[in-house]
């Protein structure tokens, strides 16, 4: 066995795995050679074969890798031995057993086997499905090329059964498909099967737990494994190598082989822009947003900055407590006495790195920055000087009330002024002198006063608590006064008395001397009284969220009262008559409704966009309306234009309390809690195409703010461009 010898020469330091594979190879080679060495099956050979088989199985124990290989090897071997194979594993095992047994049998008792079959009845058809021979009388060919015939009579199921019942050896009888013969297994064979089933080794005598001899250890041995002397050729130089070297030397000499060039490490620079091609400018470059340059340093970054750029102690503390992103300066300004003392900047690399990040991570976007001159944003308005006359200075203060003056009203002649205050008095003033002509005590805080706009009638409506009082102040022209009295007394009650919501009572005695003429007792507290332009009708407001009885219209000459509304549309804030047409304006919290009194229907609903309307005034032309609200706004409506405000003015800082239009001049005024009265020029043109011109012309200040209340009411003088304002500081002021 040459190979074995060779193998044994191998170095002792071989690794175990290699060792194993080597061993395996040896065995394989062994097997391969077997058929070459001895063709004929002899006893000895059979024994050896057994040995080989054993070693094989040993292999399979050692290394699972070679299992399949060894199997196939076995198969080969089997084929050579003349036995056939099955695909099934069991069959394979059985075959092996069979072959072995046959081998054993041939070894032990050849004549016994001879008894059944004359010689060797191995089928030579190979590993094919035996069904192919179904239709033939034979099932294959023996070694001599003669047909092997099927048994004459096949066993049928009955035979099988009988056999099973009668034959005591039935359990150990096996049918061989290739030879179509039954084989009775001997005792050894049965044992072998049992052992294999248990997973034991086939050979009884094999001891799998033999002490292992570590032949090739990892320790380097001092002595060689073999004492074979070294070859001579290991001492003399190799001819082949010599030839190769000489060839290389020759090539080098001839310059065919050059030493490897050292790699160029330093980059080579050249004139990259030698040919500047304008076509090379891609569209990309036009789209390119160049990165903004680094900010240039200011004085505060200097190593020796002016002292004002250094941070004070508090500023430094604040700086340290701020987050790094919130800081206005990313560094602390420092002062060093000389250049020598300047240390390294600790965040230098950070800043450089952040710049790098900005360059490749920051999204870039072009931002159009519009340079706006703030002066250009201010609208160009006509100069107030050109819009005169309007009140500019405070010229008179009417002092006398002891509490806030809720309401004021000027007489149609412009000579007198009436004011109602929370101190339960109504005072009459002479406008030009500021003299208090008359003081009348009434039975409650006066909510509203209104002078009759009819110059031929001298009547003042005053409301307090749930009463509306009509007074004849007895001021001015005596004829007018007496005629007014006459007008009231000339009333004749109608035949059938109608039930009215209000009781009309004529004042007599001392009250009459005081000027009281008529008393209208309302069911609820009255907040506001308003005269119609003709002076005969009078509207009173009783705000109440839950009933439809909020507004009443009274006719003085007939002493009649009617409730115009059947439905409650919200809390009524104030009402007003149209100066020319039979329209009636009702302001609820957010809307102003315009009713046609003749047709008795709603004509318009104005959306004010305010939260809470406080006051309302109507332009003497009747087409425009202003609404003051508690949320500091003043809404100008053009009734012809839209139901939405034409202009929204937010001039006041606090809630508006009163608004007023001038009768003749294009002026309107608004008084608010911030104590100021703002006069605006509000020109309305007769030409419908031209929009009204609204220009604020004057801010009048004078009222003190008491209890967070400033101006409570404003009224224009009926003829002059003067404005009266009453305030929470118990004064009335006249601005001329």
């Amino acid at each position: 066995m040459r190979t074995v010898n060779l193998e044994s020469q191998k170095n002792g330091t071989m690794s175990k795995a290699k060792e194993k594979s080597a061993k395996k190879r040896v065995v394989e080679e062994d097997d391969d050679q077997l058929p070459i060495f001895d063709k004929d099956v002899t006893e000895k050979k059979a024994g050896e074969e057994d040995d080989a088989d054993l070693s094989d199985s040993e292999e399979s124990v050692f290394s699972g890798l070679e299992d399949s290989e060894s199997d196939s090897h076995d198969e080969e071997e089997d084929a050579e031995e003349g036995d056939d194979e099955e695909d099934d594993d069991d069959a394979v095992i059985l075959d092996e057993i069979l072959t072995k047994s046959s081998g054993v049998e041939t070894a032990t008792e050849p004549p016994a086997t001879d008894k059944n079959t004359p010689t060797d009845i191995r089928n030579t058809v190979g590993n094919i499905p035996m069904e192919w021979y179904q239709d033939y009388p034979h099932i294959g060919y023996n070694l001599d090329g003669k047909k092997i015939f099927k048994p004459i009579r096949n066993k049928d199921e009955l035979d099988e059964f009988l056999d099973k019942m009668e034959n005591p050896d039935y359990w150990r009888t096996v049918h061989d498909k290739t030879t179509a013969s039954d084989i009775r297994l001997s005792d050894e064979q049965v044992d072998l099967v049992h052992r294999l089933q248990k997973g034991q080794f086939g050979d009884v005598n094999f001891n799998e737990y033999e002490p292992s001899v570590d032949f090739f250890t990892n320790e380097v041995m001092i002595h060689p494994v073999t004492n074979r002397p070294q070859d001579k050729r290991s001492f003399i130089p190799s001819l082949i190598e010599k030839e190769k070297v000489s060839k290389l030397v020759h090539a080098i000499k001839m310059g065919w082989i050059k030493p490897r060039k050292p790699k160029e490490t330093t980059p080579q620079y050249y004139d990259l822009w030698a040919k500047e091609d304008p076509n090379a400018i891609l569209g990309r470059h036009k789209m390119h947003v160049p990165a903004p340059k680094m900010r240039l340093p200011g004085h505060e970054e200097s190593y020796n900055p002016p002292p004002e750029y250094l941070l004070t102690e508090e500023e430094r503390m604040a700086w340290e407590q701020q987050d790094a992103e919130d800081r206005k300066l990313p560094f602390l300004p420092q002062k060093h006495s000389c250049l020598r003392a300047v240390p390294a900047f600790s965040r230098f690399i950070h800043e450089r790195f952040e710049r790098c990040l900005d360059l490749y991570l920051c999204p870039r976007q072009r931002k159009m920055r519009v340079n706006v001159n703030p002066e250009d944003l201010i609208p160009k308005l006509p100069k107030p000087k050109d819009l005169q006359p309007f009140p500019t200075t405070m010229s008179l203060v009417y002092i006398g009330h002891s509490s806030l003056v809720r309401s004021i009203s000027a007489s149609p002649t412009g000579q007198w002024l009436v004011s109602g205050s929370d101190d339960c008095t109504v005072r009459f003033w002479e406008v030009n002198t500021g003299r208090c002509m008359k003081t009348l005590e009434v039975g409650g805080a006066v909510k509203s006063v209104a002078w009759n706009p009819n110059p031929a009638v001298c009547l003042v409506a005053v409301c307090f608590e749930s009463t509306v009082l009509l007074l004849n102040p007895g001021l001015g022209d005596r004829l007018v006064v007496s005629s007014t009295d006459q007008l009231i007394t000339s009333y004749e009650p109608p035949e059938e008395d109608k039930e009215q919501a209000v009781t009309w009572a004529l004042s007599e005695g001392p009250e009459h001397d005081n000027g009281h003429r008529l008393t209208l007792t309302h069911p609820k507290a009255v907040k506001q009284v308003v005269w119609h332009g003709k002076g005969d009708y009078l509207a009173s407001v009783m705000p109440d969220n839950s009933s439809n009885l909020q507004v009443l219209i009274h006719q003085v000459s007939k002493r009649r009262t009617q409730n115009p509304f059947r439905k409650n549309k919200g809390l009524v804030q104030c009402v007003s008559f149209h100066p020319l047409r039979p329209y009636f304006f009702v302001a609820t919290q957010r809307y102003v409704r315009v009713y046609n009194l003749i047709k008795q229907e709603l004509t318009k609903k104005l959306m004010t966009n305010c939260k809470w309307i406080s006051s309302m005034a109507i332009h003497p032309g009747g087409d425009n309306l202003i609404c003051g609200s508690y949320d500091c706004r003043l809404a100008w409506f053009d009734l012809d234009l839209s139901t939405k405000p034409y202009k929204m003015l937010r001039h006041h800082k606090k809630a508006l309390r009163g608004v007023a239009y001038h009768k003749h001049y294009p002026l309107f005024a608004s008084g608010a809690d911030d104590g100021s009265v703002i006069i605006c020029h509000g020109m309305v043109y007769n030409d419908l195409l031209q929009n009204p011109l609204i220009v604020p012309v004057k801010v009048l200040k004078g009222h003190q703010i008491t209890h967070d209340l400033g101006v409570l009411d404003v009224t224009f003088h009926p003829t002059q461009p003067w404005v009266f304002s009453s305030g929470a500081d118990a004064t009335i002021r006249l601005f001329t």
Partner: protein, 585 residues
């Protein structure tokens, strides 16, 4: 209606943008490689106008790239190099693992590399484009050249950066294009005007860096890789414009001088050569030997009229000023003491035509000794010096910087040894009206306009014995200060008496109702008009107006704050001086 239903986000801006992750997948690159590619190719994210539309309705914060940019990257040959490199690394690791050293060596020899030339050319199609973008490259290279040659990045990169920066400085010296310098607490800022482009860069102080851990040096290295390539090409081109040899060579004359002295100190020739170059003391060799001084190219006179003429005159004037600045230190001989930053000072002084030298042991390239009698200025940064020569000024380094920024030689008295230096102002600040201008700047501007020492002269007139000796200068200053103080006090006392006295009512002209009154009334009227007009502004415009006014107010507030601080500081310092004086007496 008919037609196919339009799907959302399949047209319009949504298709123009791509998120980063999608872009990465499209390019089949790892994040690191993608980052590198973006840095090299100069691809940056874009902010879409309607972010939600682009983000397919989601408001998640994402970075978007232009799809066109990413498509453009698809064809980049360098992407393949990246992949090759990846394979190389894998092979190398394997070879290492198997301990196959020959294979390692072989692989190492065939390490795949790439060049960025084509990318530079593509990113900057013209030279001016490249020059415009060189600020960051300069700062980065200057930073890298100060790194220690251990860890952090390759030694080759550091040496290359050093080489390039030295080349740049040499160019600036030769072309005399330095304009402004500024010593900040971060480092020294330089601004040069190269081919009409203002280029600013920052050089850190020469200290060892303590390397932060939260900085990704790979990103920086990638940037540097790109920058060095760009910078090298720019240097080449710049040298070419000046007819200089690139890579720079010293003048044959200067070289021979230097060679004789220092050859033995340096092991490698290349090393010493770089040192010599970086010494900045010698001029460079030219391709074509020209006359020593090229005649300054005069601005041609063109017949022009009106505005053009004015422009022309302005330009001429500017150029003259420029020339004057370039010759700022011409004829002066400086000597740098060893404690001053040699490189920056040598650079600046040489840029303005001075001769510079230093101690031989400090650096190679010093041309004369301390003992040279012709030295006019010695720059010293220590409180006192033992041996002083009578015929030279001993000044602190700030003088050089301030003089350069002022474009004139400032009086040296403020910069003598041991003197408290005047504040060093940033030359980059251009004050608009309304901004705070420090008083030093005002003084400087007056000086530049030629009003020399207006206040001081007055004071000098007051001072009878005014010696020009510098040793007494400090005392003089004190004296003048005292005088000032006295004056101020007098004024103050006068003011006080005025306030207390009851004088016969001197009716001011504007109260009499004459011209002044009218003026005031008019003013008031105008103010009110404006107030009323502002009331009538529309809401949107009002908002804008308020914002602008707020910004304006803030700037004035800040300026006022600074002024107040300055005033407080001066008051305290005066009080201190007074106290000192009192103690002395």
């Amino acid at each position: 209606m008919g037609g196919l239903q339009k799907k959302k986000y399949e047209r319009g801006s949504a298709t123009n943008y791509i998120t980063r992750n999608k872009a990465r997948k499209k390019l089949q690159l790892s994040l690191a490689d993608f980052r590198r590619l973006c840095i090299l190719k100069g691809i940056y994210p874009h902010e879409p106008k309607h972010k939600k539309k682009v983000n397919k309705g989601s408001t998640a914060p994402r970075t978007f790239y232009l799809l066109k940019d990413i498509r453009f990257l698809l064809h980049e040959p360098i992407v393949r190099k990246f992949r090759e490199y990846k394979v190389f690394v894998r092979k190398l690791r394997k070879a290492y693992g198997k301990a196959e050293w020959t294979a390692v060596e072989r692989l190492r020899d065939n390490k795949p590399g790439y060049k960025l030339d084509h990318i530079i050319k593509e990113r900057y199609p013209t030279f001016i484009d490249a020059l415009r973008d060189i600020d960051d490259a300069l700062s980065m290279c200057f930073l890298f050249s100060t790194f220690a040659r251990t860890g952090k990045c390759h030694v080759q990169t550091i040496t290359l950066c050093r080489r390039l920066t030295v080349e740049w400085m040499n160019y600036v010296v030769t072309s005399r294009s330095l304009r402004k310098v500024f010593i900040s607490i971060k480092g020294i800022y330089y601004q040069a005007e190269v081919l009409g482009q203002l280029i600013t860069w920052l050089v850190p102080y020469q200290f060892a860096h303590d390397h932060p851990t939260d900085v990704d040096y790979r990103v920086m290295a990638t940037f540097t890789e790109m920058y060095t390539t760009l910078f090298g090409f720019i240097n080449f081109r710049l040298y070419q414009t000046l007819n200089l040899v690139y890579p720079p060579k010293l003048d044959s004359k200067a070289e021979s001088e230097l060679k004789a002295e220092h050859e033995e100190d340096y092991a490698m020739d290349s090393e010493s050569y770089l040192e010599k170059l970086s010494a900045l003391s010698a001029s460079l060799a030219r391709v074509v030997a020209t006359a020593e001084e090229e005649e300054e190219n005069q601005l041609d006179q063109f017949p022009a009229d009106g505005e053009d003429l004015e422009n022309m005159e302005a330009r001429e004037k500017e150029q003259k000023e420029q020339e004057a600045q370039n010759r700022l230190f011409e004829g002066l001989k400086f000597f740098l003491n060893r404690e001053v930053p040699r490189e920056s000072l040598a650079f600046i002084l040489r840029c303005f035509g001075a001769e510079v030298s230093w101690d031989k042991s400090l650096c190679i390239g010093g041309t004369y000794n301390v003992t040279d009698e012709t030295i006019t200025h010695q720059i010293v940064d220590r409180p006192d010096i033992d041996k002083q020569y009578i015929n030279r000024y001993y000044i602190q380094p700030q003088w050089v910087f301030d003089s350069v920024n002022a474009k004139m030689r400032l009086p040296v008295e403020d910069y003598f040894l041991g003197v408290t230096l005047p504040p060093h102002l940033s030359p980059f600040v251009e004050e608009k009206d309304g901004d705070y201008v420090p008083p030093e700047k005002l003084k400087l501007m007056a000086l530049q306009r030629g009003e020399k020492h207006v206040q001081e002269e007055e004071e000098d007139d007051d001072d009878d014995d005014d010696d020009e000796e510098y040793n007494d200068e400090v005392d003089d200053e004190d004296l003048t200060e005292e005088k000032n103080l006295k004056k101020m006090e007098d004024q103050r006392s006068q003011g006080k008496t005025l306030a207390v006295k009851v004088t016969p009512g001197k009716v001011k002209p504007w109260e009499t109702g004459s011209v002044g009154n009218k003026v005031r009334l008019e003013k008031e009227e105008k103010a009110e008009e404006k107030r009323l007009a502002i009331m009538m502004m529309k809401k949107k415009e009002k908002y804008l107006y308020d914002k602008i006014m707020f910004g304006k107010k803030r700037t004035t507030r800040e300026a006022n704050k600074l002024a107040a601080k300055r005033k407080a500081h001066e008051d305290t310092s005066k009080a201190e001086k007074k106290q000192k004086k009192a103690k002395k007496q």
